[in-house]
Symmetry: C2
Subunit: 473 residues, 2 copies
């Protein structure tokens, strides 16, 4: 519980609009996108960096834990309060006024509460976009706190690569505002402090403003579904495509048979392009794109892609067994239906892993071989971003499975998957979802003591107050 005195003081500081305490109004802020439901002592909705600073300073001086919340679309319980009712949620949802476009610098300055879709909508007329392509529609602050990658990482990189500057409020008694909001692309005059606030779940400070790199919206694209000759040929196929397409190649996504089957079963509008509808063991979605409009006499992108695939097809020991060039909206519809499809199969236990690129398929094969003995009744429905090593390693259990009656089952399963991924393959247990409450135990287990000590030290020199859902130290 938060004492009424504090509510009154915060209302005084921020205004009535910015302090939410009615249970029915707080509910949306207490409920995560997929998993969690907590209880907040209050929800604060500051509309400016100065208001965030005032709110955070007050909470720190009074020992109140602040949970920063952005779009609240994350999957690791990073932005919702626990069940105590003692935590205050600080939402960025009113912090979205600023929009300063610098066309020459190909950059924009925005408040951290702006939604990705809204940002891109406003950039449309300039044929620019923020090139992080996600299924969800988060606010920018949360994208920074988790350093999201998305489906076109291969070409554009992650949020870190596309962030030029930040403004950050620290959790100290003053609510110190750090101006790290450079618009420069090159600047090596000291520690690049902004890096510490990217991908660290808001534990070291609350990002309130940022300067982002923009890219030109592609005016042409072509896609194909590729069937690799075998799982072992996925990487040779990627290498062959990278060699022949260079920076044209904007996506190389892998989809397992189980994930595809789930999508076809549950999204009837999808076209099944495979021979007699037989879904191959593994399918790649490859996309090529370019920023300019088609020119007279220039080969179309479809035909470029076709030519490249023919060339690969004709190499000795070709890594390609089959290919279907289709319109991008159809091909991507299939890719985007995977999550939805998989959810229909039963209870979903999702992992956001990453590996060296060459280890993705090896890991998946390893798990396919071991799962029936280790966890019979668990189905693997993986898909992922082969180009950057990311795997959405989704496991599904039928809703009536006896496994689900064992309260220890899910944790045993998670521990086993992480042990194989991290210890045997040197992978990451959180590729682009960051830590959050759900991964806290794995952070504690897998992080070397020295780095935990350093993180605790870093916390002291940035935000000594109580901030965020994750304990880094």
């Amino acid at each position: 519980m938060i004492a009424m005195d504090h509510i009154d003081a915060l209302t005084e500081l921020l205004g009535e609009k910015a302090v939410v305490t009615r249970p029915e109004d707080m509910e949306a802020y207490e409920t995560g996108a997929r998993y969690d439901r907590g209880r907040a002592g209050a929800v604060l909705r500051p509309a400016t960096t100065a208001e965030v600073s005032a709110a955070v300073g007050y909470c720190v001086r009074n020992g109140i834990l602040v949970i920063p919340q952005s779009g609240n679309t994350g999957l690791v319980s990073g932005s919702t309060p626990d069940n105590s009712g003692d935590e205050v949620v600080l939402s960025l949802d009113r912090l979205s006024r600023q929009f300063e476009l610098d066309l020459d610098n190909r950059a924009v300055r925005v408040d951290a509460g702006v939604r990705l879709s809204e940002l891109n909508r406003r950039l449309e007329e300039h044929e620019l976009f923020f090139p992080i392509d996600l299924g969800a529609d988060p606010r920018i602050g949360g994208m920074i706190a988790t350093n999201t990658g998305g489906s076109r990482f291969l070409k554009y990189g992650d949020v870190r690569r596309n962030t030029l500057g930040l403004k950050v409020v620290l959790a100290d008694e003053a609510g110190t505002v750090l101006d790290l909001d450079s618009e420069l692309r090159k600047n090596n005059t000291g520690v690049d402090w902004k890096q510490l606030f990217i991908g660290t779940s808001g534990a070291f400070g609350i990002v309130t403003e940022c300067v982002l790199n923009l890219e030109r919206v592609p005016k042409q694209s072509a896609t194909a579904l590729l069937v690799p000759a075998s799982g072992a040929e996925v990487l040779p196929l990627l290498n062959a495509m990278e060699e022949r397409l260079g920076a044209y190649l904007s996506a190389f996504e892998g989809m397992s048979k189980n994930a595809l089957a789930a999508a076809f079963a549950h999204v009837p509008s999808l076209k099944n392009p495979f021979q007699a509808g037989n879904i191959p063991d593994y399918v790649i979605l490859a996309e090529v794109s370019r920023t300019w409009a088609p020119r007279d006499g220039e080969q179309s992108l479809d035909s470029v892609l076709e030519g490249v695939l023919a060339e690969i097809w004709e190499t000795e020991e070709a890594p390609l067994a089959d290919a279907f060039i289709g319109p991008p909206h159809e091909t991507w519809a299939l890719r985007h239906a995977l999550s939805e499809g998989v959810k229909h199969l039963g209870k979903l236990i999702a992992f956001d892993l990453s590996f060296r690129r060459g280890d993705i398929m090896v890991f998946c094969d390893h798990m396919k071989a071991e799962m029936p003995a280790e966890f019979p009744g668990v189905t693997i429905c993986d898909f992922g971003h082969i180009g950057d090593g990311g795997v959405h390693f989704n496991l599904v259990v039928a809703r009536d499975s006896p496994l689900l009656t064992d309260p220890a089952f899910e944790q045993r399963l998670r521990e086993w998957v992480f042990a194989v991924a991290v210890e045997q393959y040197g992978g990451s247990f959180s590729a682009e979802h960051a830590i959050g409450r759900r991964n806290q135990a794995y952070y504690d287990f897998y992080t070397p003591e020295k780095l935990k000590e350093m993180a605790a030290g870093l916390k002291t020199i940035t935000s000594p107050g109580r901030l965020g859902s994750v304990r880094f130290g």
Copy 2:
């Protein structure tokens, strides 16, 4: 002076080969690439991370300041000792054995002492390279410590963007080795500590090993010298090129008339392609490249470039006044001769600045207008990387100028240039050379107190011992 006891103990620890004390053998390690000459108490040349750790631990326990030195090609006195004879240089020049290539991951693990040229030579047969294109030939450790960018930043980014992992020795009593040597492209499971050792001049730890992203060597390229319609048209021209060439565009370098004239005057083998040899006020070197070999029926890159330039030429209020397509080796020879040419004009006072892209030409015009009144006799010979906002703002004074007899002149000039660049235009006083002894005073002056405090705290939690030429706190 370093006591003989210490020399003996270090020799015991590292072996005779790794401890240099004869003045004539130390000289190369005491002398910087352009400016400085100090005096070392000893030069240590460890060949492994374990030896670096042993050496650093010993020095910390005995209060000896260690100056890490990589290729010693930097321009800010970052890697040479002062004149006391009390500092020990720790050179990475023997730390260059490891070379583990992961073709599927398009990454390589190397020791930090490997030279850029040697790395790329070993990658050649795989048609890969580390895509940081520099005039000098540094070792990788120093490139990380300065976060160099180079001539193709526009396409490939800086060292930060291309570093996947690091191994770092901290300056504490144990010479702690931090394993941050991930080969993953996506990993958000805590603080991305490696970021702190990139661009910070070795002040927080010595990088001994790294995992680097590699790119495919372009198999086709085409270049042109472009004459913008005016200085104000440089950015519209860049925007027009980016729009029409996307990721094909791999360089967009600016060259002032003065810099070009100096190159033509002092490097007689250069071809002057301009009408009647008249050098325009400002010239752009634009490069397009792609990774694949020419294909049958595909438009050549020269003709793509020609087509794009014709298209721009025909737009209303075209930003382009003239263009000369020429073979890449000739065009780049001109670009690479600028430094050499400028040095011949007199005493060179060099600045490595950066700006928002749209401010580069505005700043240069501002300086051209003000210089005659502020510092008569100083000639501006700028060139730079328009695509990323970097400017090599070179000032030249005739060797017989009375300015050079004024001992305060150079500092006054530096302070004025930095004041205009940083305070008026929000630029950076060190785009890609980092700090070093030469920029220490400007770091102290331009860094907010809060960030200095945080840096001092960071120093305590990483390398509390005496390390490097820069004081961050």
